[in-house]
């Protein structure tokens, strides 16, 4: 087990290094650069720009810049925002809770709903419910998240007035738990749509795999009620491969969060990325890219560990 863990950890670190190289290269090789926004300010001469580039270290060769960035990062220094000179780590961790809250709520919805739809689809395979779930999942995967968000706002905020059209709390008097929850519903549901579709599909396939195995037949042969066989014996085993899915889906969820945050003016990491891109705030953009990669790798790693703990067969492979 220790070897397995160590191996996976090492793999993740190597991957993280490659990720950082790709991110750094993409950012710094792209035309424009962080000085582009200053270039149009009247009264700023070429020499001024050159001096600024020198101060920011932008005039040195790219590998040198990367090495400097990496060594600082390993020392815990993520750099400072070009926009307001705040430490990048502070900027990002200030926004992280909102995004994690949104993602957590969406995961909860999609796991509960997705597992239920998937299991029902598998039990009543090819029934009307199963057909509708299949078609529904494919349509759900085809709906642009932001558009679904707009429609939800149109129906539930503009028309019915049940849900707030955006923000994390009511401006002014808000802040209670119920107020948070009230604001969380719409963006979480919008973000969960795609995931519900994905989970229900995988759950259905996994359940179908399990249902035909010998131990399920044994359970039935023992005379256990069908409900116990399905929701106890079969579901437990069908959920095992789903642990890995939870890890794999994290980048998708993060990407969706960016869009949902934009539509619902949610003060999370996705909106921070958009704002920072507009300002060419390289250190923050780079920090967000690294954070999202760490989240993705951590998700995969945790999923692997849980899977290995829950299912001894995984460790053999």
């Amino acid at each position: 087990m220790a070897n397995f863990l160590l191996g996976r950890l090492l793999q993740s670190l190597v991957l993280l290094l490659i990720v950082s190289v790709i991110g750094f290269a993409v950012l710094h090789l792209a035309p424009g650069g962080p000085l582009a926004q200053f270039a149009l300010i009247p009264g700023l001469s070429k020499e001024d720009l050159a001096r600024m580039a020198h101060e920011m270290g932008l005039d040195r060769p790219l590998p040198v810049q990367y090495w400097e960035w990496l060594t600082r990062l390993l020392g815990g220094d993520w750099g400072h925002s070009y926009r307001d000179n705040r430490p990048v780590l502070d900027v990002i961790t200030g926004r992280l809770p909102a995004t994690l809250e949104l993602m957590g709520a969406a995961i909860l919805i999609s796991v509960l709903l997705g597992v239920w739809i998937g299991v029902m689809g598998a039990i009543r395979r090819y029934s009307v419910f199963d057909m509708l779930a299949t078609i529904g999942a494919m349509v759900a995967l085809s709906i642009p998240t932001f558009w679904f968000g707009l429609i939800v706002i149109y129906i539930f905020s503009v028309h019915l007035g049940w849900l707030p059209p955006g923000n994390r709390t009511t401006v002014g008097g808000g802040g209670s738990f119920l107020d948070y929850l009230h604001h969380l519903i719409a963006p979480a549901v919008v973000l969960a749509l795609v995931e519900v579709a994905v989970w229900s599909r995988y759950m259905r396939a996994s359940m179908l795999d399990v249902i035909n195995q010998d131990f399920v037949r044994t359970a039935r042969a023992k005379g256990l009620p069908e409900r116990t066989v399905l929701w106890h014996h079969a579901l437990r085993n069908a959920l095992l491969p789903m642990i890995a899915l939870a890890g794999v889906e994290i980048p998708t969820l993060l990407g969706g969060a960016l869009v949902a945050e934009t539509v619902f003016t949610w003060p999370g990491m996705g909106r921070l990325l958009l704002d920072s891109l507009g300002y060419r705030d390289y250190p923050v953009v780079m920090g967000i890219l690294m954070f999202s990669a760490v989240l993705a790798l951590l998700g995969n790693l945790l999923a692997d560990i849980f899977a290995a703990v829950a299912d001894p067969r995984v460790r053999m492979a």
Partner: protein, 293 residues
């Protein structure tokens, strides 16, 4: 005994159901093909049949709700006809979808074939690169690229392709790696076929099924990605219309002019789900394994 009694009707029902499922699946795929054909046709000839120009500003008739004096789908904040804009936007969005599919499928296939055929260090390097690219949320990658490169239809196509070739590479690599161990490859190599011949004449044709499926699904994804980027303001720039950028300003008029938000989204959903239906149908048709389920 009771188990046998239960099993009997279940089997009969299953056979009938399978036929019904095939029928249904086929129906969806056929619906997808028809919808795509209709969308393509409407985008090509539609704008010339409608007596409005997609860029013609008509301030007196702005925010005309659908349907009103000739504007079947209403007008936008500048009084431009929404239907003709939807169709010209379709030209852009569909072209980008197809073009990005071709570029990313070609690149992904190349990487996948090379990784699967050569194996060893080349495989590890290439596939680790693929893994690393998949660590980023696709939309992050796309935005970072789009924010720094002057966006137009061509660069946007390349950017979308650059962030969506990895799935194809994975699929192809898996296929090629398993095909590579088969006897017919050994035979070809013993006959003295070169590496390039084996890769593109022996391996690739045998992996074409999954590639076609992945390519179809990539069109769907590319149309969706174009919409996302354009919606966020980093894609196709106004006044040129794309389905994504038509939704760009729709949010502020949600209360007063909801049709501005509803129609472009419906077009995207219709186009994307059609390609997904076709991809699903193709997977059933081309991949025998899915028949067993």
């Amino acid at each position: 005994m009771s188990a046998a009694a239960l099993a009997q009707p279940a089997v009969a029902a299953k056979t009938g159901n399978r036929a019904w499922r095939r029928f249904c699946r086929h129906r969806l795929a056929l619906f997808g093909v028809a919808a795509i054909a209709l969308l393509v046709l409407a985008s090509i000839v539609g704008p010339s049949l409608i007596p409005f120009d997609s860029l013609k500003i008509d301030i007196r008739h702005r925010f005309a709700p659908p349907p009103s004096n000739g504007h079947l789908f209403g007008t936008d904040p500048l009084g431009r006809d929404l239907l003709v804009r939807l169709l010209t936007a379709g030209r852009i969005s569909l072209s980008i979808g197809f073009a990005a599919m071709i570029v990313s499928t070609a690149f992904g296939t190349l990487i996948g074939v090379a990784a699967g055929y050569y194996g060893g260090a080349i495989r590890v390097t290439l596939m680790r690169f693929v893994d690393a690219m998949l660590c980023f949320p696709q939309i992050f990658l796309l935005l970072v690229l789009a924010a720094f490169i002057q966006p137009n239809a061509v660069t946007l196509t390349l950017i979308i392709a650059a962030s969506s070739w990895m799935e194809v590479a994975r699929v192809v690599e898996g296929q090629v790696r398993s095909l590579r161990e088969r006897d017919f490859i050994l035979a070809a190599e013993m006959l003295g076929a070169s590496g390039r011949y084996v890769m593109f004449r022996e391996l690739l044709p045998n992996a074409i099924g999954p590639i076609i499926v992945a390519a179809t699904l990539t069109v769907a994804r590319a149309i969706l990605l174009e919409a996302y980027v354009s919606f966020l303001g980093y894609g196709i720039q106004p006044p040129m219309a794309s389905w994504g950028n038509m939704l760009n300003n729709a949010q502020q008029y949600l209360g007063s002019a909801p049709w501005l938000a509803i129609f472009p989204g419906l077009m995207i959903t219709l186009a994307v789900s059609s390609f997904n239906f076709v991809g699903d149908g193709l997977r059933d048709a081309l991949d025998a394994r899915f028949d067993l389920q």
